[in-house]
C-alpha cells in the first residue's frame, strides 16, 4: 500500500488532507461515534449495496464498526480504523481505477468480524460448541449483507425512465 502511495505525486496532497481530516476527527468522542456509524460509511456511494443489505437485516440497530473494528482495546481499534480508513479514502481519491468490482472482506477483516460475532453472542455460544466451521458466516451466510444485490426493486415492475436516469451509476 505504501509503495503504491509513493508512486503518486500530484494527488498526494489531496489524499493527505483527507486522511489528516479523518485522523483529526478521531479526536472527539462524537466524531468517533459518527465515523463508526452506518450513516458515515454510506457516505461513500460505493458502500451503498452493503448499506442497503445491512438496513434490511436483523442487525440494523448496530453500527458498522460494531462488526468491522476490533473491540478488545481502544488502541487496537484505532490502529485498525486508521489503516482501513486510509485504504478506503485512498481508493476513492487516487486509486479509483483500482476499485474492485466486487468487494470481499480481507482476511484481516474476517477475523475481526468473527471476533465481534462471538463477543456479542457469547450467551448463545455458552452451552453449545457453536463453532463447527471456520467462521460464523459459513453458516450464517446472510448476516447482514448476504441477501444479495437484488433488493425489493427487482421484484417490482421496472420504473419507467429508471435506466435512463441511472445510465451508469449503481
Amino acid at each position: 500500500m505504501l509503495k503504491k502511495l509513493m508512486r503518486i505525486d500530484k494527488k498526494i496532497l489531496i489524499f493527505g488532507a483527507l486522511f489528516a481530516g479523518i485522523v483529526l476527527s478521531v479526536l472527539t468522542a462524537k466524531t468517533m461515534a459518527y465515523t463508526d456509524s452506518a450513516g458515515f460509511c454510506k457516505n461513500c456511494h460505493i458502500m451503498t449495496p452493503v448499506y442497503e443489505s445491512f438496513v434490511d437485516s436483523t442487525h440494523t440497530k448496530l453500527s458498522c464498526n460494531d462488526c468491522h473494528l476490533p473491540h478488545e482495546s481502544v488502541a487496537k481499534k484505532l490502529v485498525f480504523k486508521g489503516k482501513a480508513g486510509m485504504g478506503h479514502v485512498y481508493y476513492n481519491t487516487l486509486g479509483s481505477s483500482k476499485i474492485p468490482n466486487v468487494f470481499h472482506a480481507t482476511e484481516n477483516s474476517k477475523e475481526v468480524i468473527n471476533g465481534n460475532c462471538i463477543s456479542c453472542h457469547e450467551k448463545t455460544l455458552e452451552n453449545v460448541s457453536h463453532e463447527a466451521k471456520d467462521s460464523c458466516s459459513s453458516c450464517h451466510r446472510q448476516v447482514p449483507h448476504g441477501k444479495g444485490f437484488k433488493d425489493e426493486n427487482y421484484k417490482k415492475p421496472p420504473v419507467t425512465g429508471d435506466l435512463l436516469e441511472n445510465k451508469g451509476g449503481y
Binding site: V102, Y154, G161
Partner: protein, 456 residues
Amino acid sequence: STGDKAATADATKTTGLSKDEISNEAFKDLFPLQYNSYQKNKQDTEDTKYSGSVKRSKYDADKEPYLPILFNGYGFATEYNEDRGHIYANEDIRSVKRINDKSIGSCLTCKSTAVPQMIAEMGDGYWGGNFNTDIWPKAESMGHSPIGCSDCHDPETMDLRITRPSFTKAMEAKGVDMSNPTRNEMRSYVCAQCHVEYHFAASNSEVTFPWNNGFKPEEIYEYYEKTAKEKGFEKDFVHNVSGTPIIKAQHPDFETHMEGPHGKAGVSCADCHMPYERSDDKKKISSHWWKSPLKSMDTSCGQCHRDRELDKLKERVIDIQDTHMEALHKAEDISIEAHYYVNKMIVSKISEVKIKKAQEHVRKGQWFWDFVAAESAAGFHNPQGAMSSLKTSVEESNAAIRLATEELVKKGINLDELKGEIEKAKKAVYEEKDNFKKKEHAINSYFPAQQPPPKK
C-alpha cells in the same frame, strides 16, 4: 433506494432519440459506457473448456464430430459453429452455409435490429419473405445493427422492452400473465426473445415457441406431437440416414435455465451474463459484453457466492460440465446406432409398421439429446434436468434398436456386419478434414440415403 429516486423522476425525460432508432451508433454519445462495453463483444480469441467466443466448427474433434451424421439431411450437417458475440450476429448469418436461396425472413428474426419494424410493416410477408433477395437487402437499407440497443431498450426511455411478438404470444399461451413483468423477470425476458427453442409455423412461417405445456423437454415434445401437428407442423427435416421426421432443437437456454437451480431461485440471465462492473469513472454499469461467465467469475458469481472460493466454484462448474458432456456423447453415440439400424430396416424391407414404430423412437431419442446439446452451458443451466433428458434419450434410442434387432434378426441379417459398417461410416466422417464434406460420408452404398428428393 435507487428505485424510489426513479419513481419520482420526471417521467417525460427522454433520450431525444426517435422511437424508431435502430442503429447502435445513435446511442453512442448518450451512453458511452454501455456502448464501449458492447464493443467488447468483438473479442473472440479465448475459449473456455466447453464454450467461449472463438468461431470454430462444432464438428471439431474436441466438440461434437458426429453431428454431420446426426443432422444428415439438414443444414446443421453442412455448417454449424460455436456462437460468439452479439456484434457478429449479422456477419455470421450472412456467411453461414445454412442460408440458401430458399431461406426465409424468419431466419433474420434474432439477428438484426430492423426486424421489429419489418414485422410491424410486412406481417406474414416478413416471416415467409425470401431471405437473400428481399429480407436482408431491406434490413440493410434500413441501416440496421446486429442485435442492438433497440432490441432490448425503448430508444426514448431506455426501458427494457419485448420487441419480438413471438415471445409474448408464447408466454401467454403458457398461461403467464405478461401485463406487468417485474424488473427481475425482464432481466431474463429480453434474452428469452431469442435464446429459446423455436419452429416456423406451418401456415405462415412465423417464428413460434412451443411452450403451451411447459419448459421441460418432455413437455415441449408433447407440444410437437399434439399441438404443432394439429396445426400442420410435424418436422423440421427428414433424416437422411433413417428417414425419420425429426424435430431440431435450437438453443433452449431460457427454458433450461428456468427449470434449473438458478432459475428456480429467481436468478436472471443478466445476473450472470451482464454483471455490474465498475467502469473507469467509478460508476457501475451492467456489462453489455455477453459472454461465458467463467471469464468473469468475480463479478458474475462472486456477487452472490461471496462465501465461496471462486477457484473451487469454477472446479465445481467444470465437474458438472465434464459429467454432462461425457453423458451427452454417449447418448449421441446410441442415437447414431439407432439411425443406422433403421436404415438397415428400410434396406431390408422390414414392414412399414415396424419401421414407423422404430422411427418414432429414433425421433424421440434424438429430441432428448438434441435439446441438451443445443443448449449453451454444457449442462450448467440445469445439471439434473439435462441429465434426465439424456437418460430419456438413451431409453428411446435403445427402444428403436431393440425393435430393429428383433426384426432384422428375424430376416436373417448379420448384425455384426451392420455394427462394423456403422463404425466405418463414423470413422470416415471423423477423419474427413473438409467440414463441408463430412456429411457425405454418413451415407454410402451400404447405408443409402433415405431423404425424399427435394421438391422442385
